[in-house]
């Protein structure tokens, strides 16, 4: 089974480990992430002002490309998911913006009709945007994931971190309950982990403020990591490259600011999924993690180091 | 500008009370409709609707209780079935079925009544006036149902002539 896949810029740059581990895990689960032949940045943030047609053009173009490949597109990055899904909803429900955006698509088509990816059709929300984890739950099935698990993770205490962009606004994204989500827990349970519930799992990591005012993001992220530490987690899993960066990379600064700060590895859920599915570690690539998860993985689930 | 004339058949338990609530709450909607209050939407005979169109209505709105909420158990289900059949008949007559609308509006839904009225009036304005005269209706035959014959309003006795009626209606359209 091939499923159209939109990676987004970060997964081709900073978060290649996320991209690779997701692709390998997919293979081990019997499907293939079929990367769109052409795609652009989704714009990273969804515009909250009402007059924003220009700002949704990027996601709409990508959705239009995706519609050439099928009726679904899977993505991994929380920001991409958020932006694509909300832009899709605008295209389905706001006739005025739909018309305006399609003016641009039509112009694209005229200019670049030779490029296969342009459908030449108006985009009106034909594609369903799915998160990889939704795909696992609804198409592959958690039972199937469970059947394919090769590595016992039973002793690993895993804290699932949702962050903001997957959950909110719940009415638009319809991803999960914004206050007590369970989709992540379901997957981790299927993988055989000891799931740790922690109160900050839906709080913000500081997001893009890391670029503007680092201290804000560090403070936010410290709250999240600290909460998982208090619940005795061994590891945090996330689905967002920006969360991963803020929570993991900034632990150096957190440790500088707080005495006795206990570091905690933060990995992508696909990396841990890869471990559970017995995928060779070179495809999971833990080398880019600031807090190395390998010792705790080795200790808890006998993963080879290095 | 064309202002459609609308006859509203409202059941007294739900929609009529909802219309009263819209009033008590001072919600505003256009004054195009005149309400005929009936006990139950199930009282409404398709002939009442046809009569309204014949008598110059541009549209007919029927309001009843939500399914399951009928004061008389299931009158509104009967209405629902009758009206869907009637809509198909209207089409055969050359009357746009959109001119007949059935809505469930409860006594608590003053807001909904206003919304429906606004939408309906807008929609009918777009459709334009119903000009039955130009349609192939039997002009030599009196359309008056059995119970209305010999009992025309205003105290005037039966008008047997369709042609006379047409004249009246034409002048009516011209005035609008």
């Amino acid at each position: 089974m091939k499923i159209p896949y939109y990676p987004g810029c970060t997964l081709h740059e900073r978060a290649r480990d996320f991209d690779m581990s997701a692709k390998e895990s997919a293979k081990a689960l019997g499907f293939e992430l079929d990367e769109m032949p052409i795609w652009t940045c989704c714009g990273a943030v969804f515009p909250l002002v009402t007059d924003s047609v220009m700002d949704i053009l990027a996601p709409v173009r990508n959705l239009s490309y995706a519609s050439r490949m099928g009726d679904k597109v899977v993505t991994l990055c929380s920001f991409c998911y958020h932006v694509l899904k909300r832009a899709n909803k605008v295209m389905r429900e706001d006739p005025e913006k739909q018309e305006k955006a399609n003016l641009f698509l039509r112009a694209d088509t005229e200019r670049r009709e030779s490029i296969e990816s342009f459908t030449g059709e108006d985009y009106t929300g034909q594609v369903d945007v799915l998160h990889y984890i939704e795909f696992l739950r609804d198409v592959v099935g958690y039972d199937e994931v469970k059947n394919r698990v090769k590595q016992n993770l039973g002793d690993l205490r895993v804290a699932p971190y949702y962050g903001c962009m997957l959950l909110r606004p719940a009415k638009e994204l319809e991803f999960d309950d914004p206050e007590q989500p369970t989709i992540f827990e379901g997957l981790l349970e299927a993988m055989g982990c000891d799931v740790v519930d922690f109160p900050m799992k839906t709080e913000c990591c500081g997001g893009f403020q890391i670029v503007n005012d680092e201290e804000i993001a560090i403070s936010c992220s410290r709250t999240v990591v600290g909460s998982a530490v208090k619940r005795d987690a061994d590891i945090i899993v996330t689905t967002c490259p920006l969360c991963q960066y803020n929570l993991d990379r900034k632990q150096e600064e957190m440790a500088e600011r707080v005495q006795g700060f206990r570091k905690l590895p933060v990995v992508y859920f696909t990396q841990l999924l890869g471990v559970a599915l017995g995928i060779d570690e070179k495809y999971l690539d833990f080398t880019d993690n600031y807090v190395d998860p390998r010792p705790v993985l080795a200790a808890r689930c006998a993963v080879r180091e290095g | 500008m064309f202002e459609p004339r609308i006859v509203c058949f409202f059941c007294k338990w739900c929609t009529y009370a909802g219309a009263d609530l819209a009033g008590t709450s001072r919600k505003q909607y256009p004054p195009n409709g005149v309400v005929v209050r009936v006990n139950c939407s199930g009282r409404i005979d398709p002939q009442h609707v046809l009569w309204a169109f014949r008598e110059g209505a541009d549209a007919v709105l029927i309001g009843g209780c939500h399914p399951g909420d009928c004061h008389y158990q299931d009158g509104n289900y009967k209405t629902m079935r009758r009206i869907s059949l009637l809509k198909r008949m209207l089409e055969d007559f050359g009357i746009e079925p959109e001119r007949l609308r059935l809505e469930w509006i409860s006594a608590a839904e003053g807001d909904k009544l206003v919304r429906v009225m606004d939408e309906f009036v807008d929609g009918i304005k777009k459709l334009g006036p119903l000009t039955l005269d130009e349609r192939p209706l039997p002009k030599d035959r009196d359309f008056v149902p059995p119970h209305a014959s010999g009992a025309k309003p205003g105290g005037s006795k039966s008008k047997k002539s369709g042609a006379k009626k047409t004249t009246r209606k034409k002048s009516a359209k011209a005035k609008r």
Binding site: E13, V45, C204, F208, V211, I216, R249 | -
Partner: protein
């Protein structure tokens, strides 16, 4: 401390513009403060979210446009998610930033010139793009 309330200020055109751009009904806010209570970055704000809305209700746009708050919001949407009246402070914040940036009322918080290759290769691309779009316009 004193402010003079006038109908004119309350009906201020630019405040109407905030309403229009954000799509939010300022009158819907009954000042429960839940947006402020749940905001993850509220500690760094000079005016908390509910107060921003209050000032706009009172026709006091100036202090809002000058505040740090609008640049500190991380658009995490927690405020909007929990508001009992469905008022999205995050959208009001976007609208306020849009007004400042479009009208060049102050310098952008994140300067594109300051974005270095090192930054781009270290931080995730989405963070840099996101910050530029939200805080530079």
């Amino acid at each position: 401390m004193r402010i003079t309330l006038t109908g004119e200020a309350i009906k201020d055109e630019l405040i109407r513009r905030v309403v229009e751009l954000s799509g939010q009904n300022l009158g819907a806010c009954y000042q429960c403060g839940r947006c402020s209570a749940g905001c993850p970055v509220v500690e760094d704000m000079d005016i908390v979210p509910s107060e921003v809305i209050r000032l706009l209700q009172l026709g006091q746009l100036e202090p809002v446009l000058r505040s740090q708050t609008i640049w500190i919001c991380a658009s995490c949407l927690q405020c909007a998610s929990r508001c009992p009246k469905g008022v999205e402070f995050s959208s009001i914040c976007d609208a306020l930033r849009a007004i400042v940036l479009r009208q060049r009322l102050s310098e952008p918080k994140v300067d594109a010139d300051e974005v270095t290759p090192a930054m781009v290769s270290d931080a995730p691309q989405m963070g840099v793009v996101g910050a530029l779009r939200k805080l530079n316009g």
